[in-house]
């Protein structure tokens, strides 16, 4: 026995058409919430993809160790989320950690990052810039192609420095500056290499290497006696070993620190705390989406109740000619499904239109994926069923005689 699927679908489309404006308005109520969801998912997906691509490389074999100060661990309040990216009063990570990690099995390269703002002085006046203190392992982990010269060597006896493309230009009005010297806090550093221009506005851990200078961590003490290691990047020899290394780092550092005051993340979730402002926007949008979906759902319920009472007689007639309660129930469920599905599709359209509009001002594209379409459709179906259930049940349980007697 067929479930009258065709008839129900046909009926609900007819009914949508018959009450075009009120149905459409109800659907738009759903569409607003859906558009928010599409916006969040597609933009955060796009951003995450960008970050994951940059951080974990092609193989997804990068792990990142971050300090977790008490503040960031426990205080998840709104304001601290908006607060600047990573200003820990006191990083829990030490050079000892770096050494420990580099000795672990299957670890191919380790690069700590200790970023400070400093004045650099070349030939001309001093220029403000970011100084990244790290090890030679960084070259292995992030792809940093050199324009001239070579990368740092940990074993070098000299104060070596590698300049970003634009920084070099600002310091010397030239790119070929290997052999020149740069003064950082009155300490003299020898330029050993200049990076090729990267030119990407969103960068790995917010470091714009074009505008940064890279020095060795073991020399950084000279310019900053309160050096904070903001994170340690670890490259694992092969992807299969990632989980094992992940565990080992956790175990070793916990032993070393006495408490788990750090976190280890891998490529997929590395972006989580990278851009907190984006997270906040995401939270607000989800809230808006949630609220408007509930409001939209109530709209669907409302219009369905109106529709059921308007069509009381029709229900009576249908029952008189052989419709079961289930048939009536399905008929009205399909109607509310149609409302919410059309809302979902509209929301998909609006959401992507918005997302592409916004992303034209952003350095990344919104993620277009079947998952997002799937999520929207699934939520539409859920809302349609959830909020259509009560009106449909009410329609199904109407007494045929009372319904037939019902005059309007």
């Amino acid at each position: 026995m067929s479930f009258l699927l065709n008839t129900h679908i046909h009926n609900s489309i007819e009914s949508f058409r018959a009450n075009r404006s009120r149905s459409l308005l109800t659907s738009v109520g759903i569409a607003v919430g859906m558009a928010c969801i599409v916006l969040i998912l597609s933009l955060s997906g796009g951003l995450k993809q960008l970050l994951v691509d940059q951080v974990s490389g092609e193989n997804g074999n990068i792990l990142v160790v971050r300090p977790e100060s008490n503040r960031s661990a426990n205080d998840k309040s709104f304001l601290s989320l908006i607060g600047s990216t990573q200003t820990y009063a006191r990083s829990s990570l030490t050079t000892k950690d770096v050494e420990t990690i580099s000795k672990l099995k299957d670890v191919k390269a380790v690069a700590p990052l200790a970023i400070t703002e400093n004045n650099l002085k070349g030939e001309q006046e001093a220029v403000a810039g970011k100084v990244v203190a790290t090890t030679e392992g960084l070259d292995n982990i992030v792809e940093l192609p050199l324009e001239y010269g070579a990368f740092l060597e940990d074993s070098s006896q000299l104060n070596q420095i590698v300049l970003g493309h634009k920084l070099s230009q600002r310091l010397f009005d030239a790119v070929e500056t290997v052999g020149e010297t740069v003064k950082v806090k009155d300490k003299v550093f020898l330029v050993v290499g200049v990076l090729r221009e990267i030119g990407e506005p969103i960068n790995y851990n917010d470091i714009d290497f074009d505008e940064s200078a890279i020095i060795a961590l073991n020399r950084a003490g000279q310019i900053n006696d309160n050096l904070q290691i903001q994170q340690i990047n670890v490259k694992v020899a092969n992807q299969a070993a990632t989980d094992k290394v992940f565990e080992n780092i956790n175990k070793q550092l916990t032993k070393l620190h006495g408490e788990p005051d750090f976190s280890v993340v891998n490529g997929a979730n590395v972006s989580n705390s990278t851009n907190r402002l984006f997270d906040v926007v995401g939270y607000i949008l989800s809230l808006v989406a949630g609220v408007s979906l509930v409001v939209g759902g109530i709209g669907v319920m409302n219009i369905m109740l109106v529709s059921v009472s308007e069509r009381t007689r029709e229900i009576g007639i249908r029952k008189a000619v052989g419709a079961t309660n289930g048939n009536i129930m399905m008929q009205f469920l399909f109607e509310s499904l149609t409302l919410s599905l059309i809302g979902g599709l509209l929301g998909l359209g609006f959401g992507y239109a918005f997302a592409f509009g916004i992303s034209s001002m952003m350095p990344f594209n919104p993620m277009v994926s079947w998952q997002i379409v799937g999520v929207v459709l699934a939520m539409s179906v859920t809302i349609g069923c959830l909020f259509g259930l009560f009106p449909a049940a009410r329609a199904a349980h109407k007494d045929p005689i009372d319904s037939l007697r019902h005059y309007r």
Binding site: T7, S15, E314, I317, K319, A320, V321, G322, A323, I401
Partner: protein
């Protein structure tokens, strides 16, 4: 006809109570009635004597408070609501005083409505409905909406809908109540024709002039049968011609497209 015919409807000591306690009111009390295939029963009686209540119970729209109801030999009380709904679709055709066409559907869709719940596909539904409409000379009105037609036309559409799935019995509650005498006459001629082809009809009316069409006239009073007069002997009742076996159950009366009795 053969000796014993299976009655379509058999009511034994049927009662219907509305309200409880002091407000208790019996719309039907201990009513007995047997309706044979091929009968054209007219039920008359003063307003409020329980005619509509009786018809609703016979049509499975309502349930009796007590008593037994056998439809086609089966006790209805034992049947689930779901099955009862299916039986309404398969065995019973309703005709109402106010036509009760679905306002959003056009003529042919209204006629085809009972077939929806039999699970017929759309093309088949429309072909069958179209054939029935042709009988009522309404084929050129197929795509009219109910509000575009006269009351008489609407009632003929409603009759077509009642016939579309070959019911065992047609229940009509004052089908001419909203019509003028000319249209009443047209509708009665249609019903007569249907009856002549072997259909069983139970009709409620206030118009004594229409009883000439009936084979049996029942007068009700206070929820009971007052008088019951058969104007045609049981043996002379029209029977369904065994021709055109619609591969449905053989007991059901096949509808014929052409006039003519066996």
């Amino acid at each position: 006809m053969n000796e014993r015919v299976q009655p379509i409807i058999e009511l034994n000591e049927l009662s219907k109570r509305y309200g409880i306690g002091d407000a208790e009111y019996f719309a039907l009390s201990n009513l007995n009635l047997t309706i044979l295939p091929g009968e054209f029963v007219m039920i008359m009686g003063p307003s409020g004597c329980g005619k509509t209540t009786l018809l609703n119970i016979m049509g499975l729209l309502d349930r009796a408070t007590s008593g037994q109801y056998l439809l086609d030999g089966k006790a209805v009380e034992r049947i689930s609501r779901r099955r009862q709904a299916r039986m309404r679709g398969n065995k019973i055709g309703f005709i109402f005083q106010n036509f009760n066409l679905v306002p959003g559907l056009n003529v042919i869709e209204n006629v085809a409505l009972p077939l929806v719940y039999r699970g017929y596909y759309k093309t088949r539904r429309l072909t069958v409905a179209s054939k029935v409409l042709e009988r009522f000379h309404l084929q050129e009105r197929e795509y009219y909406m109910p509000w575009q037609m006269s009351g008489g036309q609407n009632q003929r559409v409603a009759i077509a809908r009642a016939l579309v799935n070959n019911p065992s019995i047609i229940l009509a509650d004052e089908p001419t109540g909203n019509l003028d005498s000319r249209n009443s006459h047209i509708v009665m001629e249609e019903l007569k024709e249907i009856h002549d082809q072997g259909n069983t009809i139970v009709m409620v009316t206030h118009n004594a002039a229409l009883t000439t069409y009936a084979t049996r006239v029942i007068n009700m009073l206070d929820g009971q049968i007052d008088t019951d007069v058969k104007t045609t002997a049981d043996a002379d009742l029209p029977t369904a011609a065994p021709k055109e076996p619609k591969k449905a159950k053989p007991r059901k009366k096949p509808r014929k497209n052409k006039k003519g009795k066996s």
